[in-house]
Structures are given as structure tokens and as C-alpha cells.
């Protein structure tokens, strides 16, 4: 059974996502909504990591370093200003989307395994991750015109 591969990857990805949100919160402290929301979402990710532990205990987990490549700080570009904000949010969006899809796929496995506990853990966390992706999209769409058309 390869579910442990995905559980390992998901847990690791949530950790990276938490850390990415924190990187953006620190780097864009002058955008108060970004700072506050990223900090809030980072703590959500922490909770997701913890919530997964019983599943990892049950099914096992294989280490994965894949998500590290997707960390927001891994890409080299300037870290302040309107354009950097957009790029940083976009990087986090990439990782959050990866997490979102991974929850979906683990959810498919849970359904096949008829594991109700697993399904419950997944449903709530997946919904939260979708909101995270939604917030990133909302904020980027708001920032893009000013950053790409007028900002210096």
C-alpha cells in the first residue's frame, strides 16, 4: 500500500506551507492584512500536521523531501515591494494547491479504505486548505493590477 508515501508527503507539505506563510508574513509586515492572515493560516497548517498524526500512526508514513522545493522562500527574487508580494503569494499558492490536491487524493484513498475517521479528518482540513487557496487568489487578484500596471 502506497498511502504512507502520500501521508508523508502531505504532512511534510503542510509543514512547508506553514513555514511559507510565516516567511511571507515576516517579509510583508507592511501589508497588515497579509501579515495577519498568513500568521493565522500558518497556525491552521500546524493544526493540520498535528491532526494527521493518528493517521500516520495507523498507516505509517514515508519521508518525503519533495515539498521543500515548493517552499516560498526557495525561489530567488526581491522580497519587498508590490511585485515581490505578488510573487510570494503566487509561490505560496502553488504549494497550497499542491496540498489541496494531496488532501483530495488521500481522501480518495480513505474512501476506498472505508476509513471514516480518516475521511472526517480529511474533509475538515481539505475545506480549510481550499479557503487558504481562495484567500491567496483573492488577495493576488486584488494586488495584481496595481503591481503590474502602475507600481514603480
Amino acid at each position: 500500500m502506497k498511502l504512507p508515501v502520500y501521508l508523508g508527503m502531505l504532512q511534510r507539505a503542510e509543514q512547508e506551507l506553514a513555514s511559507s506563510f510565516r516567511t511571507v508574513a515576516d517579509g510583508h509586515g507592511d501589508e497588515p492584512d497579509v501579515r495577519a492572515t498568513c500568521e493565522l493560516l500558518a497556525s491552521q497548517c500546524d493544526e493540520h500536521v498535528a491532526a494527521m498524526q493518528p493517521l500516520v500512526d495507523r498507516y505509517g508514513s514515508e519521508p518525503s523531501d519533495e515539498p521543500e522545493r515548493l517552499h516560498a522562500a526557495a525561489l530567488p527574487h526581491p522580497r519587498s515591494g508590490p511585485l515581490a508580494l505578488l510573487r510570494d503569494l503566487q509561490d505560496v499558492h502553488l504549494l497550497a494547491s499542491f496540498v489541496d490536491m494531496t488532501w483530495t487524493l488521500v481522501g480518495q484513498a480513505a474512501a476506498a479504505l472505508r476509513d471514516e475517521e480518516l475521511q472526517q479528518v480529511i474533509a475538515d482540513r481539505e475545506a480549510e486548505t481550499q479557503v487558504q487557496v481562495g484567500w491567496l487568489t483573492t488577495r493576488m487578484k486584488q494586488a495584481a493590477p496595481q503591481a503590474l500596471v502602475v507600481a514603480g
Partner: protein, 826 residues
């Protein structure tokens, strides 16, 4: 005669449930003037808070000489509060007014003519448009202009220039009211009516110090409380306000924890079965998620988080759950605090769960702060689209494009209109280089004043300020435009419960001052904004043209004005919208039929996630299939971002006092009001003061991570651990734009942070420390007859007005007027 500074709410006219609120006509004329001396009475309504009390302006020899409440007006039944009585006319007719335009020359503001001033604005505007496009322009307007003026601004910004950067100071006062109604009901639009006060059995005031913010509305409550079968009152407020003193249950929650309390109250309704299953099934969606979100919030957990007694949480919930008719009002204690929209939506949810909405005595009043805030929300000179239209709905954009004769893509709708805090951020970053501020004073009223001042003084920001006075903000301007005031121009405006008033022109503006509408129309002409067919974008000649155009914009929308006219509005009372063929006399309450504007085509917003502000979007909104049902929306509580710590151990909250409005530009110029609360102070509880060795009147420094104020201390009735400062006190009396060595503006300390959905700044939660600067030389300059009263009454002389604060009151002079559905008006 009654001294209405000492006796703020005046003489009681008690009445019982279901009776009409008796009339009491309040009258105040200039010293030496009697009613017989008055040449003309000009109909209007007061613009010093959101209540919108109908009144008449006394005119003698071409000058305003006083006011009289209109007995026939649905809103106030003749009464006026201290601000209306003293400041509405004295606050605008005095020698301090701007009478000529000013332009900056060699660093100083110098007088000039209109051609020169407007020429400069147009030159800069055109240059920036050519070089950078419309996103270089921002507009920051008000909650104090007239409907016609907002609509003109909205068209100029959205169809003339094409900039999404338009907002009003309504963002600071009322954005959450609008946001919570959009989330719950699909659209802005006040469900309740003031006449619900006459009908209810219980009343909940959530973060609403009504006694000081809307004094005349509070008179209505006091009159019910003085009569047979009075309503049971529940108050949520960290301060011992007048409301709290009259309340059966006072929940003095720790600032920043409103949502925890609300989640607990909603949970109690579920736990005790105080819900209407049938109504929920027929008229709402989302009950499952609501139930599970509030599940952890037992009264004990609420008590722990909010710092209140669990028994009080239970009692409050029981009153809500078991009273036959229940009315809720909500204001800044919720709107300007953490998780504002989520907390306010929970108020809506309480009513929806019991099906108590839109019928007599069963109402919600999501209040507004300023007198014309509602119009800005309707007309769309703030972060909304005109006529409650939805920026995510292409059909709605198409409708506006047709009304305005421009291509839909001219109208910015790729993202929500930019909110005020973001507009200032873009100014700070330099991507907005042209900012036009009208009828507001951000240098004092916006959070984190030191930062705002830095933005306003930026070299590369071209700042236009349009005002009555040389405010703190105007001192930073490149061009200052002198505006005509209330009573010097004509226009309409709409109060909290949708009641529309016409305010007629009583006197000429001073010097060369012009109405705000004329100024906007002049700009549009000079910019040569045109429709696609070549005709001028705005061809109005005056306010009534603007009103007619606005009526077309509202046709078929919830805020339907098509049944109104200036003539009809001269009929002795304001009229609540929607007013159209179907409801020719207006509409007292909304949603009594349980049908809400959540159909895809009608919705003003597809909504947001309340925790983060992520937009729901058209697809998910469709999937929700609300289709006319209300949306029960919850959010999980999380603590405020700034909590007290060892360095900054107190929670700091800001607010208003009954005697002032906004940054006092009008109220401080009425001597009666100014004497009652002449300068700034800060309030602290007795135990905290004792612990720090501080006494009444000691000069203290209150510091946050962002700035400080140095003001006298009032030892009063705030919650221990919390301090409170009034936000009215800037620096214009000292001819300065900023603090110098005596900072007094409450916003020196507040944080740049806002609610994720409504984007309303959080002005009521910050961490501060306090230290003594000097010993007391007398009591703090705070009133003694409001929430600011001293703990030791004997230590301070009671607030009183004296001879020039005497007001004539005529209780029960005529029969009270009746609202549209009570057989009123024809």
C-alpha cells in the same frame, strides 16, 4: 426650558408597547430670537449622526438662527439631541469657514480663484492619466455628503476616470454593517425599523452605546422603559455606559472577544431548542456548519475567554431565546473590533434561527455611524457599486454601463473596489499619486495617525482637500476647495433605517464656497468626460437632476427610490425605501416574508469566508443554492493579534462622547458642546488607577508600539485592564496638522489592521502602557453625565450647560406620526 447639556435626553414621554411614540418638539434658537422673529423655516434633517432627525432650520435676515424638530417626522417625532440642537447650525455658520480656494505656493497655502485651483487639479489629473492611467487616482470621501454628491463622484470615478480606488470614511464607521448584511442576506439593506423599539419585548445592544451615539433613538428606548411593560435590555459593552446601567444583563466583555460571546449565545439557542426549525428549513441555508462551529462555546468557555460571568451568558441567551419580540442593534463595539463581520453576522444568525426578523418588534438594526453613510454605500462612492450592484456579476456591470453610456470595461470590476486602508497603502508606496479627499479628516480619524500624516505629506502625492474648514488634513493639501455646508445646499440623504430626507437650502454659502456637487460637476466638465455617444458624462444642472438619474439607477433594486421625488419628500416626514409603484409610501421593514436577495441575479455580493475574507465567487455561490434564503454564516473565534503583555499591559479602546461628532470640526464650534467636553482625556478603572498610584486629573502618557498621547486621566467605570480614549481630539485649534509636544489624537496609538471581510479598521483593540507625567491640576475635562462619568462623583463638578443650553420642549404637542405599514401617510 431644559438644560440639554446637563439633561442630555430631556423630558420623558412614557409609552407602552404597541403605542405610538409620543411627540415632543424640541426647539433651540439663538439668544434673543423667538419663533415670531423667524423669517422662514426650511425643512431638513440633522447630519450629526446616523439617526437623521427631521428638523426645520430657522432663517432670519439670511442667516441660520436655530432649529426645531419636526413633529411629523417618522424618525424623531419632534425631538433633537444636543448635537442637533446646538451644532447643526452654529457648527457651520461662523467666522472660521474657508471662503476661497487655496493652492500651495512655495510651501504655503495661498488664496486663489476657482479657475486657478480647478486648473491645477485638472492639469495634474490629465498628466497622470496620460502617463500612468486611472489607477494613479484615488478618492477618499465621506459619510457626510448628500446622495447626489456621492452618485456624481461614483460616476466620475468609475465611468469617467475608471479607477477602482474610491472609498469613504464610511469604511471606518459602517463598512461592517453593510458587509454583514451582504453575507447574511445577499445585499445591504436594513431589515429593521425604529418602530420596532415601540413593539419589542427585549432589546439587545451589541457594542452600541446608543445613549451617546444616537441620543434621540435612546430617548425612544427610555420612553419605553418608563412606560408599562418595558422591554428587557441586554448590553454588550466593556464600559459602564448609560445603556449598561439600564440593562438587565450587562456583558462587559474583554475587548476583542465579541465573536466568542456571540458563538456562545448562538450555541445556547441550539442547546435549549430556542430555534424555529420550520423557519430555518424554509428560509435559510448553512445551519449545519453554524451548529458545529459554535459547538465548543459553552457558557463556561465564553466566560473564560470574554471575562464575564457564565450565568450572565445564560441569562442573556434565555432572554433572546424566550422573548416573543426581540430587537437587536449593533455598532462600533462590534464593527471596530476584531472579527467584526463574523461577530455582526452572528447577530443576524440569532434572529434567523428564531425566525425573528422583519415583523413588528422583531428586527435587526445594523447601525451606521455617520448621517449619510447609507448613501455612500448605495451610490457607490465607497467600495461598493452603485445601486447595490455586484462587481462579480457581469449583468450588473452591463446595467451600469448602459446607465452611464460607457463600455462595460471602463468600469473597474476585475477585483473589488479598493478599500480605504489599501488606498492609503498605495499612496504610501507611490502608485497612487493623486488623492482627492472630500468632507473628511483622515489625519485625525484614520488608524495610526503618525503613519497617515507621513503619507499625506509625501512630496509625490498630489492632495486635493475639499472641506468647510482648514482641517488637519487640509493643511497637507496642494489644493484646498471651500465647500458649502448643510443648510447652504440642497440634497437628500438616508438614515440607518432607510428613511430618506430632503435637505433644502436655507442660506447662501460664505464667500466663494460651492456645493460639493457643483465642484464635482465642474471637475467632470473641465476633464471633458463623455459618454460613448459623445454627450457629456454628467449633464446635470443641479441636485434634482442628480436625484432623477439616481432613481433610474435604483429601479428594480432593493434600494428602489423610483417612487420618491423632491416634492414628495417635502411632505413633512422622511420616507423609508424601497419606495416604488408597489410601495408608494415606502417600506417600514424588510424580509417579513422570509425572502432574501440571495438569488444569483439579485445578490449584491457572492460573499466571503468570514475568517480570511476569501471571496466565495460565482460558482460556489451558485452551488450554495440560497435562492432567496438567508445564509447562516459562522466563523471560528481567534484572539486579537495584539494582546497585552508585560511591556504594554493594558487593552486600549477608542470611541466617542455624546457631545462631539467626528473630528469636532462642527461640534467644537458650538460653545455649549465644546464646554461640556473641551479637550482630550483617557479613562481607567479605579483598581488599575489605585495600583498605579494615579488619581483623577493626573496627566498621563499612554503609549502603544506606534505612538503616544499625553492627556489627563479620568478615573471612571471602564473594565479593569482596559483604558478608553475619545477619538475626537486633533490639533486644528492650535493651527497644526499634528501633535507637536502635546499629542491628543486617540489614533496616535491605534494599529493599522482591519477586518478581513468589511476591511473596517480595528480601532478598539490595542495594547498600551500608562505612566504619570504630572500631578493633577483639576479633574479631567470629561463629561460627568455619560459613560465617562467619574467613579467618585463628588470629586468633579457635574456637567451642565447654563443659560445658553436651555431648550424649549413641547411634549405631546400633536398626535404622533405613523409608519407606512401602520396606516401612516395617506
Amino acid at each position: 426650558m431644559v438644560d440639554r447639556i446637563a439633561d442630555i435626553w430631556g423630558t420623558r414621554t412614557a409609552f407602552a408597547r404597541g403605542e405610538r411614540w409620543p411627540v415632543r418638539v424640541d426647539l433651540r434658537l439663538a439668544d434673543g430670537v423667538t419663533e415670531a422673529d423667524v423669517d422662514r423655516w426650511v425643512a431638513s434633517a440633522c447630519v450629526l449622526c446616523s439617526n437623521g432627525c427631521g428638523l426645520e432650520i430657522a432663517v432670519k435676515d439670511g442667516e441660520m438662527v436655530g432649529v426645531r424638530g419636526r413633529a411629523t417626522d417618522l424618525v424623531n417625532h419632534g425631538r433633537l439631541g444636543p448635537k442637533g440642537l446646538f451644532a447643526s447650525w452654529q457648527g457651520v455658520r461662523n467666522g472660521d469657514r474657508l471662503t476661497r480656494p487655496l493652492v500651495r505656493m512655495g510651501g504655503a497655502l495661498v488664496e486663489t480663484d476657482w479657475d486657478t485651483a480647478m486648473g491645477r487639479i485638472v492639469e495634474r489629473s490629465r498628466k497622470l492619466l496620460a502617463e500612468k492611467g486611472p489607477l494613479s487616482h484615488g478618492f477618499y470621501t465621506s459619510g457626510q455628503l448628500f446622495l447626489e454628491e456621492y452618485y456624481a463622484q461614483a460616476i466620475i470615478g468609475k465611468a469617467g476616470l475608471g479607477t477602482p480606488h474610491m472609498d469613504g470614511n464610511t469604511r471606518l464607521c459602517t463598512a461592517t454593517a453593510a458587509a454583514s448584511m451582504k453575507e447574511s442576506f445577499g445585499s445591504d439593506g436594513q431589515p429593521g425599523s425604529y418602530s420596532d423599539i415601540d413593539e419589542c419585548d427585549a432589546m439587545f445592544l451589541f457594542g452600541h452605546n446608543m445613549a451617546e451615539t444616537q441620543t434621540v433613538l435612546w430617548m425612544r428606548v427610555l420612553d419605553r422603559l418608563a412606560g408599562p411593560n418595558p422591554p428587557r435590555l441586554v448590553c454588550v459593552d466593556p464600559r459602564e455606559t448609560e445603556v449598561a446601567r439600564h440593562a438587565e444583563v450587562h456583558l462587559a466583555v474583554r475587548p476583542g472577544t465579541n465573536l466568542a460571546l456571540m458563538n456562545g449565545l448562538v450555541r445556547e439557542l441550539f442547546a435549549h431548542g430556542w430555534i424555529d426549525e420550520e423557519y430555518i428549513a424554509a428560509h435559510t441555508v448553512g445551519v449545519g456548519e453554524l451548529r458545529s462551529t459554535v459547538a465548543p462555546w459553552t457558557p463556561e468557555r465564553v466566560a473564560d475567554t470574554c471575562g464575564v460571568d457564565p450565568a450572565d451568558v445564560r441569562r442573556a441567551a434565555e432572554i433572546f431565546g424566550t422573548s416573543d419580540r426581540v430587537l437587536s442593534t449593533v455598532l462600533q463595539g462590534f464593527y471596530q473590533s476584531s472579527q467584526a463581520t463574523a461577530s455582526s453576522c452572528q447577530v443576524n444568525n440569532l434572529h434567523l434561527l428564531r425566525g425573528r426578523i422583519g415583523t413588528p418588534g422583531n428586527g435587526i438594526l445594523q447601525m451606521n455611524g455617520q448621517p449619510t453613510a447609507q448613501n455612500n454605500r448605495e451610490a457607490g462612492a465607497d467600495g461598493d457599486l452603485s445601486g447595490f450592484r455586484n462587481w462579480e456579476n457581469p449583468e450588473h456591470i452591463q446595467e451600469l454601463a448602459e446607465l452611464w453610456g460607457v463600455h462595460p470595461d471602463t468600469i473597474p470590476h476585475w477585483a473589488p473596489p479598493t478599500h480605504a486602508m489599501q488606498i492609503f497603502r498605495y499612496c504610501e508606496q507611490g502608485s497612487i499619486e493623486f488623492l482627492w479627499v472630500s468632507a473628511t479628516n483622515p489625519a485625525v480619524s484614520m488608524p495610526q495617525a503618525p503613519r497617515i500624516r507621513k503619507i499625506l505629506e509625501k512630496e509625490d502625492l498630489f492632495l486635493v482637500v475639499q472641506d468647510l474648514y482648514l482641517t488637519e488634513t487640509a493643511r497637507y493639501a496642494d489644493v484646498v476647495l471651500p465647500a458649502a455646508a448643510w443648510g447652504e445646499k440642497q440634497g437628500t440623504f438616508t438614515n440607518v433605517n432607510r428613511t430618506v430626507h430632503l435637505s433644502d437650502k436655507a442660506v447662501e454659502p460664505p464667500g466663494e464656497a460651492r456645493s460639493d456637487l457643483d465642484i464635482f460637476l465642474d471637475y467632470a466638465r473641465r476633464m471633458d468626460f463623455r459618454r460613448d455617444d459623445g454627450r457629456p458624462l454628467l449633464d446635470w444642472t443641479g441636485p434634482e437632476d442628480a436625484f432623477r438619474a439616481w432613481q433610474e439607477c435604483t429601479r428594480g433594486r432593493l434600494c428602489d427610490y423610483t417612487g420618491l421625488s423632491y416634492e414628495k419628500l417635502r411632505g413633512g416626514t422622511g420616507i423609508p425605501w424601497p419606495c416604488n409603484d408597489e410601495h408608494p409610501d415606502g417600506t417600514n421593514r424588510l424580509y417579513g416574508d422570509g425572502i432574501f436577495p440571495t438569488e444569483y441575479d439579485r445578490a449584491e455580493s457572492f460573499g466571503h469566508d468570514l475568517l480570511t475574507g476569501a471571496t466565495v465567487g460565482p460558482l460556489k455561490f451558485r452551488a450554495l443554492q440560497a435562492n432567496g434564503r438567508a445564509i447562516l454564516k459562522p466563523a471560528a473565534y481567534h484572539p486579537a493579534t495584539e494582546a497585552p503583555d508585560d511591556e504594554y499591559p493594558f487593552l486600549y479602546s477608542t470611541g466617542r462622547t455624546v457631545f462631539h461628532f467626528h473630528t469636532r470640526t462642527k461640534t467644537a464650534r458650538a460653545k455649549q458642546l465644546n464646554r461640556a467636553a473641551p479637550s482630550a482625556w483617557v479613562e481607567m478603572s479605579v483598581p488599575d488607577a489605585e495600583r498605579l498610584g494615579l488619581g483623577e486629573g493626573d496627566l498621563v502618557r499612554v503609549a502603544s508600539r506606534r505612538g503616544e498621547i499625553v492627556v489627563p486621566l479620568r478615573v471612571g467605570d471602564v473594565r479593569p485592564g482596559t483604558v478608553f480614549a475619545p477619538f475626537h481630539y486633533g490639533y486644528w485649534e492650535q493651527d497644526r496638522s499634528g501633535p507637536g509636544d502635546r499629542p491628543t489624537a486617540a489614533n496616535e496609538l491605534t494599529e493599522t489592521e482591519w477586518d478581513p471581510v468589511s476591511k473596517q479598521p480595528i480601532l478598539k483593540v490595542a495594547a498600551v502602557r500608562i505612566e504619570k507625567v504630572a500631578d493633577s491640576v483639576g479633574p479631567a475635562p470629561a463629561p460627568t453625565n455619560t459613560a465617562s462619568r467619574p467613579a467618585d462623583a463628588s470629586a468633579v463638578r457635574p456637567t451642565a450647560g447654563g443659560p445658553d443650553a436651555e431648550v424649549e420642549e413641547r411634549p405631546r404637542e400633536t398626535e404622533p406620526p405613523a409608519a407606512p405599514d401602520e396606516g401612516g401617510r395617506r
